[in-house]
Symmetry: C2
Subunit: 459 residues, 2 copies
């Protein structure tokens, strides 16, 4: 018999996790190693040092340590905006007339408007600890850039953000938020880097892409003394830091005597999804429970559902190590009418491995259906969701409707990664019926696959 469930459950500070959980420790088949882009051989840790600070390079390579202590300073910073609430969607359930119990973990209550701050503060902390003076990164929709700007302002680190040009132009307010936290924001591609200049020469009118902004940020980092590069998703270290989301969720559900039948998260590079599902996936990997785990991605950027599981570069400029992941090819650009984030060509190597090995499902949804769900959710639950988060809402609603039809009272948990305050142009296009869906053809996708690097790591 489940306990009386409050609308919002906040853990106390004493109940908050003091360690991150490293999913890789419980994976029998580990993610494939990163490869050096010059030699196509597995990288060793020293090869990562020019790009990543040492502690983060170690976390990136660590396939075995199950729990990693969260440094006390990071715990203290977390306490400024965490714990995030686990919310029971009573009103959404009522509106859907579903017997399902819907819970969501809400990460939007901080100025970055998303879960990104969980990893940003960790990455800034380790950089400061190593005595670095600055960081570089890329941002698309802007949440990651904002989160990192907050973290760098806190630690007095310089920050240069390469912002995908089309976002830079569409979202000037995001830029101002980052500047409020002293970040330097540069539209990408730019003429501040060789790789940016080359891309601009090739296509002066390009709106840019995350892959391209990554190339520029790395070039800037490795060419500036005391600087390193940081990334807000995809990487193993990021999934590790984001495990705080899932760990808090699981503790909160335990306090309620609840356990999810299905865990649903939106999937771009995998940072939120990997964090949310971590302890539930652990139960699955260790045979303790069998929750369904569902990744939801945009039909316009379908890396899980239509990508290849292959080695690929993480950036357009092909300067990063190669990762084995579901990918649409590093040259993939989502359609111009794609709203919000979830536009990266690849996917977390950890999640890619788990998906490949059958531990999780994936669905792709079209954006008008996503915004329909977003508006329904907003009216019932009073939170205006980010377009990214609304992908998970869409799948959770579909699951709850299925429960209404079958009469099953499933327990659904989904991740509400953030708020949509900087996405009102997209909402307006949905409300005025000018939003279009876009699904790439097989031919569109084949162009990306044709450019995948030919890698034989045993060769």
């Amino acid at each position: 018999m489940a306990k009386k469930v409050p609308h919002r459950l906040y853990l106390t500070e004493d109940q908050m996790p003091k360690q991150w959980y490293n999913l890789r420790a419980d994976m029998k088949i580990k993610p494939d190693p990163l490869l050096n882009p010059a030699t196509f051989k597995p990288v060793n840790i020293e090869e990562l040092y020019p790009v990543f600070c040492k502690a983060l390079a170690a976390q990136e390579m660590d396939n075995t340590t199950r729990y990693i202590d969260i440094p006390e300073e990071i715990q203290d910073f977390y306490k400024m905006y965490r714990p995030s609430p686990l919310i029971r969607a009573y009103n959404l359930e009522k509106a859907l007339k579903t017997p399902a119990k819907i819970y969501y973990k809400y990460e939007g209550n901080n100025t970055s408007g998303s879960h990104k701050l969980n990893s940003a503060i960790a990455q800034a902390y380790y950089a400061k600890e190593q005595g670095l003076t600055g960081l570089t990164t890329e941002t698309g929709a802007g949440q990651w850039g904002t989160a990192l700007a907050e973290a760098c302002a806190f630690y007095n680190l310089d920050l240069t953000v390469y912002m995908v040009k089309v976002s830079y132009e569409q979202k000037p307010f995001r830029k101002t938020v980052m500047e409020t936290f002293d970040a330097k924001v540069i539209p990408s591609p730019s003429n501040t880097t060789k790789v940016g200049k080359a891309i601009l020469e090739n296509d002066p009118n390009t709106g840019g892409s995350l892959g391209c902004a990554i190339s520029e940020a790395i070039e800037k980092a490795v060419s500036t003394p005391g600087y390193r590069y940081v990334l807000g998703s995809v990487l193993n270290q990021v999934v590790l830091h984001q495990s705080i989301i899932g760990l808090e969720s699981k503790i909160a559900m335990e306090l309620l005597d609840e356990y999810p039948d299905v865990v649903i998260g939106c999937a771009g590079g995998g940072s939120n999804l990997g964090g949310l599902i971590a302890p539930f996936m652990q139960d699955k990997l260790t045979g303790k429970a069998t929750p369904r785990i569902v990744a939801v991605e945009p039909a316009s950027c379908p890396s899980f559902t239509r990508g290849k599981y292959a080695y690929d570069f993480c950036d357009t400029g092909r300067v990063t190590p190669l990762a084995k992941m579901y990918t649409l090819g590093a040259s993939f650009m989502p359609s111009a009418n794609h709203a919000g984030g979830l536009r990266y060509h690849g996917m977390s190597p950890i999640l890619s491995r788990l998906y490949h090995d059958g531990f999780m499902e994936a669905v792709a949804v079209e954006q008008t259906k996503v915004f329909e769900a977003a508006v329904l959710f907003a009216k019932q639950e009073t939170i205006l969701p980010a377009p990214e988060s609304a992908h998970a809402i869409r799948a959770a609603i579909d699951e709850a409707i299925l429960c209404r039809e079958t009469g099953e009272a499933k327990t659904i948990l989904f991740g509400l990664t953030g708020t949509g305050y900087f996405d009102m142009t997209a909402y307006n296009s949905y409300l005025t019926n000018t939003m279009k869906d876009y699904v790439p053809t097989d031919e569109d996708l084949q162009k990306g696959f044709d450019q995948l690097p030919r890698v034989d790591i045993n060769g």
Copy 2:
């Protein structure tokens, strides 16, 4: 000896207040009555019915009931986004090197981005209960309109929002948020009302004002069957609903064995200030404690510090009842470079009475100093504050700096009413050093005073 204080304290649902507190019950000298604008005699409750729904008219007139039950449906709605956290500003204290303990009550974690939802849901609930079909209101900066749109969407009530034209044009995203919740948003003055047409004829290029938007919203309400008018500040009923802020704050501080030496709130129409201070003012009125209570207003719209305590209209069109309050005159328009809200010509009659009788202090601050405080706060506490809220931050910081100089370890409580996500134009003007301060001259203010109605209620 104070207990160990967490960064954020959330009450549990069981600890949340189940009644609002009505400050008037403990005031020996009550606020003066509203006057009928035609007769200049005190209004009776029936005269309010064409404008306000009955339950709210009763709350407006009730000077004696100390505690009023919060209907269960409203309590349930509150649980979707409340309790709001009481936060200890550890990092701000450290940055200021102050011995003071700084607490703030943060009301920004809901889609309206402010405390306004506390009264919006109450007003929508009573309208629904009375069988009304729609509401009208005005909004300036947009928080109130957004909050009411959320509340009306929840109760399936029509909503027409008259949005001050200059805000409508500067903040298109605010409009889209309201539209997401099905509100109809009209820039004011408009040609949808007689009063709007008259104002436009007089000055076709006017940017509008709150006072003018109020006139239009009332005209629309009284001329549409099944509609009533609602207001987000100034009124006694609003201060009543907002007492939830102060009541939660006081319970949370009691759990920490704390009591504020000084309570600081920003002051526009008085909704947040009146709510935050309510239970602390009760202690002061009943002789139980003597906290200092400080209102902070913009130097560009200084109703407390430079206004007259006099009967005045609540709107430009002079259709509302008259209220005895601190006022700059219903024709007052703040300077065009005034950023954010806190731009109303008058002030809550309850707060006006208390200020007049010496129970509280008021200070006026200039906006560049306000944004300086906002940016410092954002970097230390990771929350990007609304310009309105930053007025309170400014005064709290000044108080804490004074403590550093005197060595006193005062306990400071201030209200952080909301977030600044829709105010990035103002932040940008601060960051690029193009923001200007503006202080009206005595001659400027005299023009407003000259138009005050000549009222002698004993005549």
